[in-house]
Symmetry: C2
Subunit: 207 residues, 2 copies
């Protein structure tokens, strides 16, 4: 997230899926060895940010994401120019991924352990399927903003981990938008900071 | 600021100037010895948060704030039910305070070193007057959200210090709203965290 609360910049396109300036949100990550390894690349930095990322890789047993995050599209899959997603033949997730969509589609198995399952019956169902697939590990809600808000409002998140990039986007997709359950409270459980990014972790408590 | 970006909650009133839930934003501060001392109270906690607050007290030579922050009102002063401000006879600032308003008014000197000067000719003028009054010390832009955005957009801020409270307000006044100067960049210069609050500090660089 940018300091001003955006997880993507304004005016996203197929060439610029994170909108104007949005790529910079992830600059801290793409230089890391742990990120590069999960993307099939060698080299990269080892530092406190890399440990936070590696921890997330190690503890994640399944991923949930929205259709927008998967392809940037909406509507029927046959009209989606990016229907195969952003990540090619060997996506970096390497675990089962559950994609929320209103448009049914057969599951797909990719190289390296990533499977995409398309869930049309709502966020509870996606979470239930992801939990079953994750076993003892965590379910990572990857995004985007709209799906994160839906899960937060439904009281289904146990933890928030937000990587605040030192930048202002001035527009785009907000991570937090609109009302929250008044019975929900946050507990700050960890802060790890580097010049590139501040990792904020919160436990979500319900009254 | 709440984690979702608000510096005041929704529906502010004279009884609840920071809106619904907004008082909680400052819970970390009101328990501190350094806060209590500036408000003429004894006792309180000494911890890392107190040091951050004391540092701000020590380095601040003048304060700029908006009319909304000063009284919660707008329009003519004679119709403002809270025209004397929120802080009584001995406000906690103890330095010259410059209040941005569209409505002219004579300056007022309070007990304990606080003076209120009402500036009707814009943000540049308020800053210039505050700089002259601050001498070698810093000018603190106290708020609220609208004034902070105006100064940020005008490229007049050298540093941001944001105290992120572990809570979601779900509505109210955002600290960051709308476009920013693309030539402006942030550099994370310090993070201090406690369970009560995370203090984020950034240098503002201009291209």
């Amino acid at each position: 997230m940018s300091l001003d609360g955006y997880v993507a910049g304004p005016n996203p396109t197929l060439e610029q899926p994170l909108g104007e300036g949005g790529e910079q949100l992830h600059e801290w990550a793409v230089v890391l060895e742990s990120w590069r390894r999960s993307h099939g690349l060698s080299g990269g930095e080892r530092n406190a940010d890399a440990e936070v990322m590696q921890e997330s890789v190690d503890t994640t047993g399944a991923v949930v994401m929205g259709r927008r995050m998967f392809s940037g599209g909406a509507g029927a899959w046959e009209e989606d120019q990016n229907a195969d997603g952003w990540w090619g033949d060997e996506p970096p997730f390497r675990v089962p991924v559950f994609v929320l969509t209103h448009h049914a589609r057969e599951p797909e198995a990719k190289q390296g352990g990533t499977t995409f399952t398309f869930v049309t019956d709502g966020i509870d169902s996606a979470l239930e399927q992801a939990r079953a697939a994750a076993g003892d590990k965590d379910v990572l809600l990857a995004g985007g903003g709209s799906v994160a808000q839906q899960y937060l409002r439904a009281g289904l998140l146990d933890e928030l981990q937000i990587h605040v990039a030192p930048m202002l986007l001035g527009g785009g997709v907000r991570l937090f938008e609109g009302r929250v359950d008044p019975g929900l409270s946050l507990e700050s459980t960890r802060v790890i900071a580097s010049p590139s990014v501040t990792h904020l972790r919160y436990a979500v408590n319900r009254a």
